[in-house]
Symmetry: C2
Subunit: 427 residues, 2 copies
């Protein structure tokens, strides 16, 4: 008896699956006790079907989801189409038909995971999506199975390979943002419309999923504040380097007195921080907790084979739940969602401020800091020309409330203009 | 209904368990569906019992294992006594009584794990030991559950916190081996008899366990060649630094054409390698594979709370198997053990060689290399005094067979003396 799989979609990741099933067949058999066999593949239409048959693939290609959900011989459905619809409908139908589902669809899980998990629970079938966060890094299962005895306090993730590649090149090679983006597109790391990557949206989807596993909290995507790497200036890079930091796009989840803070933004990380050495398209998730202290999980965040490997690992786990007739809940940790209040969200900051070049500006700037209760740790000034004086400030820890106070004061001030702000994350 | 636990031993790690159970009770309940309760604690004798009662502990302390294995209300046994006996007998009796067992005892698992796992399988109960390898890093479960779809090719581990602390201090602070050892002992990282740590034995135990999870192979402890950090000279440190390497004590498992090579030794690692930044008492396991490519798992290798956290995570998993009535095999991957032949074990090497200071020595040295088929990549010479000339050689890749050829030639040569050798691991 083999476990019969239906694939929804046969793009890059999906086409890596047969290879993994074949090359690891004896290992899979020793774990599952059975073979996993691709029994059907859903493709868009007859043209796609003909193209794949012409390429030599001999799967049973179908063009209607009915041929899969109504087929009792299909044991499991693997969704690799991407986007929201029709993936959401197809997954819902598969779950309702009592078939476990594996997916790598982070957008879908981040936005509609709650509904789908409820459906999976109702029908007592697995819904696994390890590949949706940090590709080849098995972080979700580690959080779900190995951190059950621990209380997490903070999670920092380099969760987007495209932007991490770009930032690495901007730091190491001195490339501009535009050069880095162009190269990332040439290499196929960035799409022609790079918005989701460079604006931090992709990383924010992953933060939404991580929050369930790390803190047991389901947060609305809207509750995650995100910003991207497209506003980083070469000057920010230079100052960061000079002061011993690197700039990384970091997904942050942290427990505060009032609740969870979830955000994505480019931050200053000390060069000595384990995440600071995560370069190129690699991803990493750094976990702080009461019990273990610090741990980091590092690996490729995307790519055909790493993603396919994570998908097949999920398929194997799902097959084990079929074999064992167990209640196959990916993540059982759930608690009431509480979001942090701005006064409890605390960090040091980097501020780059442009000022009119005239006497008394430093005095005025420190007065504004004082008004908002901000303590300055380090201050650099740079006379750009006879009209313009730039300041760089590193602050002691301050709250998001104080941050808003300060940025609002500057916005309304005729002599000052905020060029950029970054959180500074400590060791 | 709660899950009733018996602890064997109540030392440092064990005494961290009640705290974790209490602080994470709602999380544990959401995962297991039940509470985990410490019902009995086995201690050595009446004196130990009295001491713990005097300290305010109110557990039911017992001094005979019979009181645990014969008690049908005990659901699970957690062994934290360490050493081989009586731990081995007690675990065997618990398994034979149908009770799942969790242990952190790496010596025992490395040396007798096979017998105990067979016994666990016979009685259909769990035997989990995540804490035995790299303390707070959930590497065993990650390999068992998330790398089932992948073929591993090489595993490199910084697996001993004591020696990694010492090496870090020797590199960063220029301490001698003796200073580093003394400090490690003062801080409680090293025992008064540090043999197991500094000679690489502790790391070799972990390599033996990792080989089962990473390669499905059970290897005899005797098949693991190990050496420690006690022979590292300050001069080796200096040359490593100069050439862009750090010296780390690395547990290595690698697949070769003829089979598995397993060893522990201090090696040269490029400073750019992810493992090179693993400093102090931290551990990390770096995994190379066909599917994922590279991944690294980083965290504390020891310490009360990290170890206790890993133990409790195992207890939770074991409790889930009781709830689900599943066949609770930690690692199902098993394949025939094949050990690598010396000619297939390939690496670059660092050789530090002392020579008599006379003409023609370089010529003679290169002749010896030639005899063994060794290609030199880099050569440094240093005239120590009028009698002595030191050479440092970095080789291209060469086999262990060639290594033995060369070291044997040098041993028999009146003019040369091998001061030290290190493997050089590539990126």
């Amino acid at each position: 008896m083999s476990v019969k799989i239906a694939l929804l979609g046969f793009g890059t990741v999906a086409s890596g699956i047969p290879l993994l099933l074949e090359n690891n067949s004896s290992k899979i058999r020793s774990v599952v006790g059975d073979d996993l066999v691709i029994a059907k593949v859903l493709v868009r239409d007859e043209t796609a079907k003909k193209r794949l048959l012409d390429q030599g693939y001999s799967y049973q290609f179908v063009t209607s989801i009915d041929d899969i959900v109504d087929d009792e011989s299909i044991d499991m459905v693997v969704e690799l189409m991407g986007r929201i619809e029709p993936a959401k409908t197809f997954i819902s139908r598969a779950l309702s038909a009592g078939k476990p589902v594996v997916t790598a669809n982070k957008d879908l899980i981040a936005l509609y995971g709650g509904d789908l998990l409820t459906l999976a629970a109702e029908h007592q079938v697995a819904l696994y999506y390890e590949a949706a966060v940090a590709g080849g890094i098995p972080i979700l299962r580690a959080l779900a199975d190995s951190f059950t005895s621990d209380k997490l306090t903070r999670v920092l993730g380099v969760l987007n390979g495209t932007t991490n590649f770009m930032l690495t090149k901007m730091i190491d090679e001195g490339w501009t943002y535009e050069m880095a983006l162009q190269k990332a597109q040439e290499l196929g790391y960035a799409e022609s419309d790079p918005t989701n990557d460079v604006k931090g949206i992709d990383a924010a989807y992953k933060v939404a999923i991580l929050s369930q596993f790390a803190f047991g909290m389901t947060i609305d995507f809207e509750a995650i504040s995100y910003s991207g790497i497209d506003k980083i200036r070469p000057e920010d890079m230079t100052v960061a380097q000079k002061l011993g930091y690197v700039i990384k796009l970091v997904g942050l989840l942290e427990e505060t007195a009032s609740g969870l803070n979830a955000e994505v933004s480019p931050v200053f990380l000390p060069k000595t921080h384990p995440l600071a050495t995560v370069d190129g398209v690699m991803n990493a998730v750094y976990v702080e907790s009461i019990g273990v202290g610090q741990a980091m999980f590092y690996g490729p965040g995307a790519g055909q084979m790493p993603t396919a490997t994570a998908v097949v690992a999920d398929m194997i786990q799902a097959a084990c739940t079929l074999r064992d007739h167990t209640a196959p809940v990916f993540n059982r940790f759930a608690t009431k969602t509480r979001l942090a209040k701005p006064e409890d969200i605390v960090s040091s900051y980097y501020f780059a401020i442009q000022a009119a070049n005239k006497a008394g500006q430093l005095l005025e700037l420190t007065r504004l800091c004082d008004v908002c209760g901000i303590r300055v740790e380090q201050l650099l000034s740079d006379e750009i020309d006879s009209d313009r004086l730039d300041f760089v400030m590193i602050t002691h820890e301050m709250s998001k409330k104080e941050f808003v106070c300060f940025t609002t004061l500057l916005q309304d001030h005729q002599d000052f203009h905020m060029l950029n702000t970054f959180k500074i994350l400590g060791d």
